[in-house]
């Protein structure tokens, strides 16, 4: 199959209206709900391959259009049918990675095609129950990062069971985080950490003013009552 940057003229027109154009922006169209890691060249563009091309700013995987700086990843409208209630499920075999930890920042958006009439396309990203993993790591060079109408389900990680967010400009629109878990500390669904050079460590238990507790009941009698 030939890599496609856009699929349907109507979709392309809508996207053009809805998106702010960026110099060098590419639209990469995912054409399959299958996931394989490592990826296979089979003529179908998987989400994992699309993310890799966006990260590499090239056609690292020939099944997908190349990434070219600012990128938008969308999904072929043929994947969304009344039979699946316009919801595509991608059963992941491992964690996804968006952008990279170094280099220039580029915009990255991941969203299904726009709603058509009463139908709103949605994509479920479901972590593998066999080998627990974070659903997606969004690296610092994904800025701004946009995720829209995506479910993040069943992820599991040390922090950020669903998404581990390193981007410092991120927008989540109509995203559902369901049943994710962080086994370490922080962010069952999503974890975001800022700050240069900060070392993450589990937060200690703080002590605060205990105020009136059961043990202090007797002490209240000793309090001096103010009367006007």
């Amino acid at each position: 199959m030939t890599p496609r940057k856009t699929h349907h003229p109507l979709i392309a027109a809508l996207l053009a209206l809805l998106s702010v154009p960026h110099a060098g922006a590419a639209t990469i169209v995912v054409t399959t709900h299958a996931d394989a890691n490592p990826s296979v060249t089979d003529g179908e563009c998987s989400l994992r391959e699309a993310l890799a091309n966006a990260r590499a700013d090239s056609a690292q995987f020939p099944d997908c259009a190349p990434g070219t700086g600012d990128d938008e990843i969308t999904f072929d409208e043929s994947l969304f049918r009344l039979g699946n209630l316009f919801t595509v499920t991608i059963n992941l075999v491992g964690g996804l990675s968006a952008s990279s930890t170094s280099g220039p920042a580029h915009a990255l958006a991941i969203r299904p095609p726009p709603p058509v009439g009463p139908y709103t396309p949605r994509v479920r990203l479901v972590a593998s129950p066999e080998s627990p993993h974070t659903v997606m790591s969004v690296r610092s060079t994904a800025a701004p990062f946009t995720l829209e109408r995506i479910n993040i389900e069943g992820g599991r990680g040390i922090t950020g069971g669903g998404i581990n967010l390193e981007s410092q400009r991120a927008t989540f629109d109509n995203v559902h985080f369901i049943g994710n878990r962080a086994d370490g500390s922080g962010g069952g669904a999503l974890m975001q950490r800022y700050g240069a050079g900060e070392t993450f460590s589990p937060r200690p238990r703080r002590s605060y003013w205990s105020g009136p507790t059961s043990r202090a009941v007797a002490a209240w009698a000793a309090a001096v009552v103010f009367a006007s």
Binding site: T159, G160, G161, G162, L165, Q168, R169, A170, T171, F172, D173, N174, V175, H176, F177, I178, G179, N180, R181, A182, D183, G184, S185, G186, G187, G188, A189, L190, M191, Q192, R193, Y194, G195, E198, F200, P202, R203, R205, R206, Y208, W209, S210, G211, P212, T213, S214, A216, V217, W220, A222, A223, V224, V225, F226, S228
Partner: protein, 401 residues
């Protein structure tokens, strides 16, 4: 570089972590906006922030939560739904902000403080923060130990006036519980607090302050301000019969710099609450004490302990009745009944906010003042609810019978 994250119409359901059951953010120093969201049944099993943990917050961080529901989240420690904590190494001139509007906190629970929300800037004198809550509901939340079934906000004991501020408007605190401590509805310590047009109803505490606690934790506390304007307190309960069911205010021995304003508040105690004072202003230590400045007036209570302003207050049965409103954010009404001494008893010129600007609405945003007694003069009703103006019957107005 900005540190911004935006969540629009995002749902977090049944997620789990040690801290920040759904969403964790550390070292925030930008803008976090959550609107039209849902956080339901998330768990911080062994830590803080059943739904959201915002930890080690830096000076520029501004958090906005709008039209979002927090339902059934649980934290093993502080903050059943939200934990908001300023960084211990805080430095800089900015003031972190937590702004909550039109949001619901229902049936969340914490192992320690703040069944719904716990916010803290309580580690050192450099820290500061501002918490704003408006048009929101805290209902059925529970702190299993510690303080603040609904909300607890904590400043540092030696921080100066204005460093940590809480501002609450048009919000309802209903049926929250501090199961093993005080402060069923709201607790604010070591900070300046303003509460206006809000309802505290049927909250429960083991000991004092089933409705509201404000005070100092240290005998050397600098001056603070507390402003309570146009609030209603309805039937708080406590396990132990100790003073301060509706209000418990705790001052340092030298409170001469403190200013406490009570204006237009209504107290409707539970019928079986006799035996201890409904309201209490106490000092941390006995001995030589200096009283605070008290100001305001036009408060209404059947019990004298809640009337701090002497002759300018009214001791009488408030004659109010609770009813369901059908509004998800403001579900409980506590309206004056015919003949209630609350009706038009708060003169319009005194019916002002903490900035001495006229109040223009009640908890529901119903216009106030309104001529509720058909006297021809529009004054405010005491409490958080304003009855609409009554149109005088022109026949009776002309003494024609």
């Amino acid at each position: 570089m900005s540190d911004d994250a935006t969540f629009e119409s995002v749902h977090f359901i049944d997620n789990q972590a040690d801290s920040g059951g759904a969403l964790g953010q550390l070292y925030g120093n930008g803008n976090l906006r959550i609107s039209n969201g849902l956080f339901q049944d998330n768990h911080a099993a062994d830590g803080r922030g059943g739904a959201i943990e915002l930890g080690s917050i830096n000076p520029a961080h501004q958090v906005s939560i709008f039209n979002t529901s927090f339902i059934g989240n649980q934290a093993g420690s502080d903050g059943g739904a939200i934990l908001f904590e300023v960084a211990e190494g805080f430095s800089g001139m900015g003031t972190p902000l937590l702004d909550i509007a039109y949001s619901r906190f229902v049936d969340n629970s914490s192992g320690r403080n703040g069944g719904g929300l716990f916010a803290a800037a309580g580690f050192n004198v450099n820290q500061r923060m501002q918490v704003q809550i408006s048009d929101s509901l805290f209902r059925g939340n529970q702190a299993n130990s510690g303080l603040g079934g609904g909300v607890r906000v904590e400043g540092f004991s030696a921080s100066q006036a204005g460093q940590t501020r809480v501002h609450i408007q048009r919000s309802s605190f209903i049926d929250n519980r501090a199961a093993d401590g005080g402060g069923g509805g709201l607790v604010g310590s070591n900070l300046d607090m303003h509460v206006e047009n809000s309802l505290f109803a049927e909250n429960h505490a083991l000991v004092s302050g089933a409705g509201l606690i404000h005070g100092a934790s240290d005998v050397d506390s600098p001056p603070r301000t507390l402003t309570l304007i146009g609030n209603s307190f309805h039937r708080q309960t406590q396990t132990y019969s100790v003073p301060g069911r509706s209000l418990y205010l705790l001052l340092p021995p030298d409170a001469s710099g403190w200013t406490l304003t009570f204006s237009g508040n209504l107290f409707d105690p539970a019928s079986n609450s006799s035996g201890s004072d409904e309201c209490l202003i106490g000092f941390i230590e006995s001995g030589s004490t200096q009283p605070p400045t008290l100001q305001g007036g036009d408060n209404l209570s059947p019990e004298a302990s809640c009337l701090f302003l002497g002759a300018t207050d009214i001791q009488a049965n408030p004659m109010v009745a609770a009813s369901d409103s059908g509004n998800a954010l403001k579900p409980l009404l506590l309206l004056p009944q015919p003949g209630s001494p609350a009706i038009d008893a708060w003169p319009a010129d005194a019916c002002t906010n903490h900035l001495e600007q006229p109040l223009t609405g009640d908890l529901r945003d119903a216009p106030r003042p309104a001529d509720g007694d058909a006297s021809g003069v529009a004054d405010c009703d005491i409490g958080a609810f304003e009855l609409p103006a009554v149109i005088a019957d022109p026949i009776f107005a002309n003494s024609f019978e």
